[in-house]
């Protein structure tokens, strides 16, 4: 069975792109979220195998969302999506429990490598 992914990003462009990369590689994108709060909500209802999480999102940022999700599911597998120059934020996300990160602009191969590392 294909592994199920939740894609969280406030930009439709980014969500579409990530979804295409993952679908093309045989993953099943089961849901999308535009804000941190939505991400938490969808995680609860969907229980995906993997979450891709943008750092900067409205109402609740990606890092706080990671914290909440990990609090509820210590085994949650979250891949951070970051822009260059956000090192401190990525470090914070990892300390909060994120398992890996990819840096925009995305190269499909790097995204897939990271996904594979996270899913082990």
């Amino acid at each position: 069975m294909a592994q199920r992914v939740l894609v969280c990003d406030d930009a439709i462009f980014m969500r579409t792109m990530i979804s295409d990369i993952l679908s093309g590689a045989g993953y099943d994108v089961v849901g999308e979220a535009e804000t941190g709060l939505q991400a938490i909500e969808r995680y609860r209802s969907l229980r995906p195998d993997l979450v891709t999480m943008d750092i900067v999102m409205p109402d609740m940022g990606g890092i706080d969302a990671v914290r909440e999700i990990v609090k509820e599911d210590a085994n949650a597998k979250i891949l951070m999506c970051s822009a260059m120059g956000q090192q401190a934020l990525v470090v914070e996300a990892i300390q909060a429990g994120a398992k890996d990160f990819v840096v925009k602009p995305f190269q499909p191969s790097r995204v897939l490598e990271a996904v594979q590392r996270v899913l082990g």
């Binding site: 120059g85 090192q87 470090v91 990892i94 990160f101």
Partner: protein, 623 residues
């Protein structure tokens, strides 16, 4: 347990700890917000305390204990360390150093140290309420150990991330997360706090307290992604390396060097005999002895080599104190710390280097206001650099200060009745400038200061370096700064030398600078421009009569024609008139302390095969 025999070890180890302590204090002073130095400081003083207590040196142990208390409070405090606290710690370092030396020498405890313990306690008491607050948020969650200073447990893992990996610090953190599954991560270098900065270059190391095999550790590291290289060094191997080092009294190495020098001489005589008897078996043995003694000589020379940091490490603290005292702002940098020199040479140049550094801070680098008016940054740059150059090592002291005032040097030279024949400062190139300031008794300091007014001038530097067979070069530019470069032999070499007699003494001239030895025929020695000159194959070579130069009056008065040794450095030549040439032989060059005012023509001394000492003539001083 009789601990007396550990006193030497105690002193040398304590010195190392105190050097590390001083270094960390300097780093902390540069950036008081840093969280890392305090751990290293705590460790150094803690280890000193343990050693001193074991030795029964109560005064030192007590002082170390109080300093440790203050450091403990400081490392739990949220506030950055203050200047008075650093000053207190600097003074503690000094008192500990005096205490260590004093205790080992059997002296009673220093009352000043007792006063210091009171000050340390007072500071701890003042800090204590603040220390009850929340722990410093920015402190990394993992213990931090500087390279080579921390034990830590388990294998040492070194990781290099891909050069093009994005956000290397975050990636490094992922590596640590991955390996944490195998055991506790300790001694991360650089500190994890550095992972959040952009300067982190993707190279880091840590100890992993685990029994997992190296392959498993490597796999865990690689699983984090973007890993270019992983090295896992087993703890056992590290321990073994440590165990292979022993401390040896330098005098033993000196004795060994002397013995080998004699062996080399005996080897030479054996070779002569072997040729005389033309016996194949004797030939074989002679060759074997030549090869073995050559290898032995090479090994002992290597055993005497030590990295220059063993002496250089004491300079940052000295420069800092000086700069404070003189009201200068100085950024001091040491380069080439790992370059190796013979221990004896390194010891001998410590004093000259200290002098040059002192000069640079006192006379070279201007006060900040003055630098500002000249459009220079307020902070002066001072660099001490060691560079390997084929068989020699060049050590330079470079400042970006005001440069040497040629007019003042010339004026002062004339006052002293030196510098005759120099018309104007435009004639004073770097070489002549050096010649002028290197004259005994030369100083332009208008008033004697505690810093540079010790009556030791550049002449002392030159004398010390010459005695080691080295040379000194000066480059100075107004407003741009001054550089002194000392060129030294890397090893106390065994060289071939021509032996010559003057009066009753024998002198050695390294063959490297001997072009030839001639018995002048009638008419070859002439007066040219009022100077005695050897005209050899159409070339005029100025002569130096060693007998006159050295003021030798004893021995047989030379009659008739005396032999001349022709010295050559580059294009320059000079002829040295001696009483007799005795032949050549291998000699072990040893530094020699000459009385001040002695003619600057000796580069060292040696012991001849018959046990008699001989001075080694310095070709550069005779040309």
């Amino acid at each position: 347990m009789d601990v007396g025999r550990y006193a030497d070890l105690f002193v040398s180890e304590s010195r190392e700890q105190l050097t590390a302590f001083n270094h960390l204090l300097l780093a902390w002073e540069r950036d008081p917000r840093l969280a890392e130095p305090v751990d290293g400081l705590f460790r150094a003083v803690h280890s000193l305390k343990g050693m001193a207590a074991t030795m029964g040196y109560g005064g030192v142990a007590e002082l170390a204990h109080r300093a440790e208390n203050l450091l403990d409070v400081l490392r739990r405090s949220a506030a950055p360390v203050t200047a008075p606290q650093l000053e207190l710690l600097f003074r503690s370092a000094d008192a500990l150093e005096r205490g260590v030396e004093g205790a080992a020498a059997g002296k009673p405890d220093d009352p000043a140290a007792t006063a210091l313990t009171v000050e340390l306690d007072a500071e701890v008491a003042r800090m204590e309420p603040a220390a009850q607050g929340p722990r410093r948020a920015s402190r990394p969650s993992m213990p931090v150990v500087l390279p080579g200073t921390g034990p830590g447990k388990g294998p040492l893992v070194r990781v290099v991330l891909n050069g093009d990996a994005a956000l290397k610090g975050a990636r490094a953190l992922l590596v640590l997360r991955r390996v944490e599954a195998l055991g506790a991560v300790q001694a991360v270098v650089p500190a994890t706090a550095a992972f959040e900065g952009d300067e982190f270059d993707g190279r880091f190391s840590f100890r992993l307290d685990t029994t997992a095999p190296a392959a498993q550790i490597e796999a865990a590291v690689r699983a984090a992604g973007e890993v270019e290289r992983v090295e896992v060094a087993e703890e056992a191997a590290a321990a073994e390396t440590r165990g292979r080092h022993i401390r040896v009294d330098l005098r033993r190495l000196d004795d060994l060097m002397n013995l080998i020098g004699e062996l080399v001489l005996a080897r030479g005589r054996l070779a002569v005999l072997s040729r005389r008897f033309a016996e194949p078996d004797l030939d074989d043995v002679t060759r074997a002895i030549e090869r073995l003694s050559g290898a032995l000589q090479h090994e002992i020379i290597r055993a005497r080599m030590v990295p220059v940091w063993q002496v250089f490490d004491r300079f940052p603290r000295m420069v800092r104190d000086l700069a404070r005292q003189m009201g200068r702002e100085v950024a001091f940098r040491v380069e080439g710390k790992e370059i190796e020199l013979d221990r004896a040479i390194l010891d001998e140049i410590a004093e000259p280097l200290m002098h040059l550094l002192r000069n640079a801070v006192d006379h070279g680098i201007e006060p900040p206001e003055e630098r500002a008016t000249r459009g220079k940054p307020a902070v002066g740059q001072l660099v001490l650099a060691a560079v390997r150059e084929r068989s020699s090592v060049a050590i330079s002291v470079r400042d970006d200060g005001r440069g040497i005032d040629r007019a003042a040097v010339l004026r002062r030279s004339r006052e002293l009745g030196l510098g005759g024949g120099v018309e104007g400062i435009e004639q004073v190139g770097d070489e002549l400038l050096f010649h002028l300031i290197a004259q005994a008794g030369f100083t332009t300091a208008e008033h004697v200061t505690d810093v540079s007014g010790r009556g030791v001038g550049i002449d002392a530097v030159l004398t010390a370096v010459r005695a080691l067979g080295g040379s000194v070069e000066l480059r100075s530019e107004v407003d741009r700064g001054t550089t002194f470069t000392l060129r030294l032999p890397a090893t106390l070499a065994i060289v071939r030398a021509l032996l010559a007699r003057v009066g009753r003494e024998t002198y050695a001239v390294p063959l490297a600078h001997v072009a030839e030895a001639v018995d002048p025929r009638h008419g070859e020695v002439q007066q040219v421009d009022g100077r005695e000159t050897l005209v050899l194959r159409g070339r005029a070579i100025p002569l130096v009569r060693l007998r006159e130069l050295l003021g030798v009056t004893d021995g047989e008065a030379p009659s008739g024609r005396q032999p001349i040794i022709v010295l050559e450095i580059g294009e320059r030549r000079s002829g040295v008139v001696v009483d007799a040439v005795l032949g050549h032989q291998e000699i072990v060059v040893k530094p020699v302390q000459l009385p001040r005012g002695a003619p600057p023509v000796f580069s060292g001394a040696t012991i001849l095969g018959d046990g008699a000492p001989a001075l080694i003539l310095d070709a550069s001083g005779l040309i």
